[in-house]
C-alpha cells in the first residue's frame, strides 16, 4: 500500500512539473532569453511600442533604413539607447505592429541578465550558458524557440552580443 501511495505521489509530482513547463513560452520549450534595462524586459519578437514607451525617459534616438528600391514595403528602424540598440521592423511610422527584431549590446556598460558583457572570454559564456547550439570561430549561439542569443567572438573574446528573432 505504501509503495502504491509513493508511486501515486511520484506520478502526481511529475504531472505537476509537466504542467509547469507548459506555462513557458514556445509550447514547452525553454523560455526565450530576454534582455533587461532599467527594469524593462524585452526580447526579439515583442511589440516595440510598450518597450519604447517604457524606455522613453532615456530619450532613444532613432534612424530609419531607407530601401534602395522605392516601393518595397516596410522599413527597419534602429533605436539607440545607453549601451544598446533595438532594431525593429514596421510597415510605416506609427505602425502598431512594429516588432523588435534585434537587440544589440554595443558596449560593456550593459550585460545580459546572466552577467555576460562585451570583453568576456568565450569560456565564461560557456560556463554561464552551457553548450551552445552553434559554435564557430566567430560566434557562440544559443537558440531558444523563435529567438537566438549570439555572442560574437574575435580572438576568443566577446566583441558583441545580440538577441535575434529567427525568421
Amino acid at each position: 500500500m505504501k509503495k502504491f501511495a509513493a508511486l501515486l505521489l511520484t506520478v502526481a509530482a511529475l504531472m505537476g512539473f509537466s504542467s509547469c513547463g507548459e506555462d513557458n513560452p514556445g509550447n514547452g520549450e525553454a523560455a526565450a532569453y530576454s534582455f533587461s534595462f532599467d527594469g524593462v524586459e524585452m526580447r526579439p519578437g515583442d511589440k516595440a511600442a510598450p518597450v519604447l514607451e517604457a524606455l522613453a525617459g532615456h530619450s532613444p534616438q532613432s534612424s530609419v533604413k531607407a530601401s534602395c528600391l522605392s516601393g518595397l514595403s516596410g522599413e527597419d528602424v534602429t533605436y539607440v539607447l545607453p549601451g544598446f540598440r533595438i532594431q525593429t521592423f514596421r510597415q510605416q511610422e506609427g505602425d502598431a505592429d512594429e516588432q523588435i527584431r534585434l537587440i544589440i549590446l554595443s558596449d560593456d556598460s550593459v550585460a545580459t541578465p546572466e552577467g555576460v558583457a562585451i570583453g568576456a572570454e568565450a569560456q565564461a559564456v560557456k560556463d554561464t550558458y552551457g553548450a551552445p547550439s552553434e559554435e564557430t570561430e566567430f560566434r557562440l549561439a544559443y537558440t531558444r524557440g523563435s529567438m537566438r542569443l549570439v555572442f560574437g567572438l574575435r580572438e576568443g573574446k566577446v566583441t558583441n552580443i545580440s538577441y535575434e528573432v529567427l525568421e
Partner: protein, 342 residues
C-alpha cells in the same frame, strides 16, 4: 485540312499572339514614377554614344557619381549601369553585355555587393533583368540570378509574372505602352532632398566576416574580361557608411588583399569623406545611407581628378560633336536639379 482551314488557323494563332504581346506591353510595370529604378537598365540602350568610363554596381554608384559633372569638369564621358542591390553576378553579366556595344577605357566597380553570396529578393532581380535586351547574356544572367520562387519562363514571357496587374492598371500603363521617358542622367538617378545624418551607428554583428567565394569568382571573371579587352578595372567603395548598409573592417581587409594580389586600384572613399568635402548635414537625402546631388557632385569632382591624373583619361571638350551632345545632357541635368525633383 483544306487550305482555307490552314489560313484560318494561322490567322487565329497570329491574332492570339498579337493579343498576348499587347497584353504583355500593357501589364508590365512601366517604372515611370515611384520606383523609377526599374527603368534604368533599359534606358542604356537608348543612349547611343560610347563612353570612356562605365560604372557598375548598386545604389552606391547611381546615387554617388554624376556623368554630367564628370563631363563638365573633366570632359570625360561616362555611363552608370547601376541598379538597386546589383549583385556581383548581375554586374558581371551587365559588363559582358555592355562590351557588345562599346569598349570603355575604364570600368569602375563598387564593391559593396561583395557581401551578398545569394540572390536576396525577386524585386531586385526584376528591376535589372526585365530591362535587359534579349540575348544569350540575359539568359545566363537570369539563370545565375533567380531565387527559388522564380522561373526562367517568367523572364522570357513577363506576362506570366505580371498577368495579375490588370486590376492595378493606371493611366501611365497606357501612356507608356510603346515608349519610356528618361529617368536618369546617363544612369545617375538624381535626388535633391536633404535629410542630415544625425547618428553614427555600426552595422549589426556579422555571423561570419568572410566575403562569399562566389563573389570573388565573379569578380575574377570581370577582371579577366577587362584584361582581355584592355580595359582598366577600378574598384571603389562609396563614402557612405550607414548602419543598414555598413562596410566592415573585415570586408575592407579582404578587398585590399584581393586588389593587391591582382594589381587592381582600389579606392575606399569612406575615410576620405572629409578630404572630398562631404558634409553629412547637407550631402545626403536619407540620413547618410545615400548621397544627394550635392554630395554626388563633390565625389564625382574628386574621382574625376583621379581618372585624369592617375589613369590619364583625356578631355573631350574640344570635340564639337561630343560637346554638343553633352551640353544637352548637362542642360537636362541642371534643369532637374533646379526643378528640385527628388
Amino acid at each position: 485540312m483544306k487550305r482555307k482551314q490552314w489560313i484560318a488557323c494561322l490567322c487565329i494563332l497570329l491574332c492570339g499572339g498579337v493579343l498576348l504581346w499587347f497584353a504583355q506591353l500593357l501589364l508590365v510595370p512601366k517604372y515611370m514614377s515611384g520606383n523609377r529604378e526599374g527603368a534604368m537598365t533599359a534606358e542604356y540602350y537608348g543612349d547611343g554614344s560610347t563612353h570612356d568610363v562605365l560604372f557598375l554596381g548598386d545604389c552606391e554608384v547611381y546615387e554617388c557619381y554624376t556623368p554630367p559633372t564628370l563631363w563638365a569638369e573633366y570632359g570625360i564621358t561616362s555611363y552608370i549601369r547601376g541598379t538597386p542591390q546589383q549583385l556581383v553576378w548581375h554586374s558581371y553579366y551587365l559588363l559582358e553585355e555592355t562590351l557588345r556595344y562599346e569598349t570603355p577605357r575604364a570600368v569602375v566597380f563598387n564593391v559593396y555587393a561583395m557581401r551578398y553570396g545569394e540572390p536576396q529578393n525577386e524585386a531586385y532581380n526584376r528591376v535589372l533583368l526585365d530591362g535587359m535586351r534579349f540575348s544569350d547574356v540575359k539568359l545566363r544572367a537570369v539563370l545565375a540570378s533567380m531565387t527559388e520562387e522564380e522561373s526562367l519562363a517568367s523572364y522570357l514571357f513577363p506576362l506570366l509574372r505580371y498577368h495579375s496587374r490588370w486590376s492595378e492598371l493606371e493611366a501611365a500603363d497606357l501612356q507608356y505602352l510603346f515608349h519610356r521617358d528618361s529617368v536618369t542622367h546617363n544612369g545617375y538617378l538624381m535626388q535633391t532632398a536633404v535629410v542630415p545624418k544625425e547618428l553614427d551607428i555600426e552595422g549589426e554583428p556579422l555571423s561570419d566576416p568572410t566575403l562569399p567565394e562566389i563573389c570573388f569568382a565573379y569578380l575574377d571573371r570581370m577582371r579577366e574580361l577587362c584584361e582581355e579587352k584592355g580595359i582598366q578595372l577600378i574598384l571603389v567603395k562609396a563614402p557612405t557608411n550607414f548602419w543598414g548598409y555598413y562596410w566592415y573592417d573585415e570586408w575592407e581587409e579582404q578587398m585590399v588583399s584581393y586588389a593587391g594580389e591582382h594589381g587592381l586600384p582600389y579606392y575606399n572613399f569612406i575615410p576620405l569623406a572629409d578630404e572630398i568635402g562631404l558634409d553629412w548635414s547637407t550631402d545626403t537625402y536619407d540620413g547618410g545611407a545615400h548621397l544627394n546631388v550635392s554630395g554626388a557632385e563633390k565625389l564625382t569632382s574628386y574621382f574625376g581628378a583621379i581618372l585624369r591624373e592617375t589613369f590619364g583619361l583625356e578631355d573631350h571638350r574640344a570635340d564639337a560633336e561630343l560637346s554638343a551632345l553633352w551640353q544637352e545632357k548637362c542642360n537636362a541635368y541642371e534643369a532637374e536639379k533646379n526643378g528640385g525633383t527628388s
